[in-house]
């Protein structure tokens, strides 16, 4: 355990001082502060809006939740994708493993350090956002809201730790950093863009919309779109799309976060869906004052469990692979 603590301290100071962490931190901080400001404006113009609206109320198309949905994977993956293979390439791993420590201390220390760095990012961002909102609004969150913020922060940390675990897994299975970077980018693209397209295509394949043949008048079209059959069709397509997107951790996070913050109406998609549904202060149907936290948790328990299990699986897989990693003569 002493070995893991030493690795933890070293890795934490590396992470906190690393350029990539500082750049991402800065970016998130600027955007979050702006979104908190927007949220505060939203609360001002909507009497009865909860303080929590600073995390989702937005007029310019983004909020803290959409930021996390979109940037979360990059933040988590970027702290993990070269954790192991960089040390393999540089030769510092074999020097490290020649020291009197158990091998698992290395990967445990690295994972805990990066998780701590991510939690610090989440905690300080949310703290600063709340501070900005309080100074703009002149009032702060109530006790119920504070507890929701805490749970939401924990959820966000778990969500980022999932991506971190995936990044560390990439760095364990690949020898070259260039490969794990590509895997990181591919993963991000898949969950941010490809999955929505695939979901839409599949939905269209399973439930095709019978378009009226031949040129149809506007009136006729509208008539068609208004039939209950058509609405049921659209409903089915939506369900299919939602089900497919359920494999995306970002989607799960979005749903769980929305429920905790008291935004009803189910989750939006990762990219576009997230932006439109959560953003555009148009109509985030938040239950004024927020619903009950316990009830919300009960509803999105599966989503939260899925995120935690995903994180554990990623870490456990990298742990096993790292312990079995053959340090071979060729590196």
């Amino acid at each position: 355990m002493a070995g893991a603590m030493t690795v933890f301290r070293k890795e934490l100071s590396d992470d906190l001082g690393s350029r990539r962490y500082l750049v991402l931190f800065g970016l998130i901080l600027i955007l979050s502060t702006l979104s908190a400001y927007q949220g505060a404006q939203y609360i001002r113009s909507n009497t009865g809006a909860s303080f929590l609206a600073i995390f989702y109320g937005s007029e310019y198309g983004f909020s803290f939740t959409t930021l996390m949905v979109f940037f979360g994977p990059i933040i988590g993956l970027s702290l993990g994708f070269d954790a192991i293979n960089k040390e393999r390439t540089s030769g510092s791993l074999s020097v490290l493993l020649c020291q009197p420590i158990y091998r698992d201390s290395v990967i445990n220390g690295k994972f805990i350090a990066a998780t701590t760095a991510l939690s610090l990012l989440v905690a300080s961002t949310i703290g600063i956002m709340s501070g900005v909102a309080v100074s703009v609004l002149g009032f702060g969150p109530g006790l119920a809201e504070v507890s929701k913020i805490v749970v939401f922060a924990l959820l966000t940390a778990v969500y980022l730790a999932f991506w971190l675990g995936l990044g560390i897994l990439f760095s364990t299975v690949t020898k070259k950093i260039s490969t794990s970077i590509l895997m990181t980018v591919a993963t991000w693209l898949f969950f941010s863009i490809v999955i929505t397209i695939v979901a839409a295509l599949l939905a269209n394949y399973i439930v095709p919309i019978a378009m009226p043949t031949g040129p149809s008048g506007g009136g006729g079209g509208e008539g068609l779109f208004n039939t209950p059959e058509f609405r049921a069709l659209m409903q089915r397509r939506n369900t299919i799309q939602t089900d497919i997107q359920m494999i995306s951790p970002a989607y799960l996070y979005n749903q769980a976060g929305s429920a905790i913050l008291g935004i009803t109406g189910g989750g939006g998609g990762f990219g576009g869906g997230g932006f439109t549904r959560l953003g555009g202060g148009a109509n985030p149907f938040q239950a004024a004052g927020g619903g009950d936290l316990g009830k919300a948790l009960a509803i999105v328990w599966p989503q939260i469990t899925a995120l935690v299990v995903g994180m554990v699986i990623c870490f456990a897989a990298s742990y096993m692979l790292f312990l079995r990693l053959e340090i071979r003569p060729e590196g």
Partner: protein, 312 residues
Amino acid sequence: MSQPIIQTQELTKHYKEIKALDHLNLTVFEGEIFGFLGPNGAGKTTTLLTLMGLTVPTSGTATVGGYDIVKDSKKVRQIAGMLPEGAGFYEDLTARQNLNYICQLNDIPKLEREKTIKELLDAVGLGERVDMKVEKFSRGMKQRLGIAQVLIKNPKIAFFDEPTIALDPQGVKEIREMLIRLNKEKDLTVFLSSHLLYEVQQTCQRVGIIRAGKLIAADTIENLSERIGGKDKIVVELELSKVDADLIREIKGINGVLSVDQENNKINVHMESDKSKEVSETIMKHGATILLMRPKERSLEEIFMEYYKEGA
């Protein structure tokens, strides 16, 4: 002979299809500099990695300093240090920060760390570069930092895997002298793996030769040489002002001379017993001048090639 400090019994390691170590039996004694020779791919690095517990043997056992390399691999790493091949450091940290990390991993008390680091960096000649980032280090400097890293735990045994590879001649000489000094001053058992015969000959007291994962010979260089060159009792190397066929014939005619081989103005005279006096008289009678005359020792290269031929 002193106590064995490293012992392997039938140590075997398979990497999927390749047999890297094939029932290796090896003993290294306390306080010696042991040279581990073999061409690339013979299993030198695998032996070191296995002994340090970085990789697990497929079968067989081994002890280092009395500790089992599988069950007590952490304890092995407490008393043994290694400079792995291609050892690296954290490039964006300074030499001091890198060593400080190693100190912490070795549970060196905080108060002693600063002093230990300073002493070691001075000892390896990096005293002036304490606060320089490792990314600015040359290969030779990194290698010396690697030696400092090995010594932090004040080990009983130090493994060096090709420590002078890719270094310039000056660097090679410095590392060699450092190893000899450490062996003498700190009574450190040094296990030097190398394919550079000259380096091993200059540094090591005992040599092991490994081929295809098997130890084919282990002894002092003199003994190895004697065993190979059993039929030639004495060889004298001469350099003369001129050499012709008559002279060679005459030398061959001396009673006790077995054979003579010639290379330009140099000849090697193989003799059953010491006939140097007769040989030199013959040469002078012939009107040639002796420029050089010395008993010839077998170079490690010859020994090495001989053992490889034998085993093949």
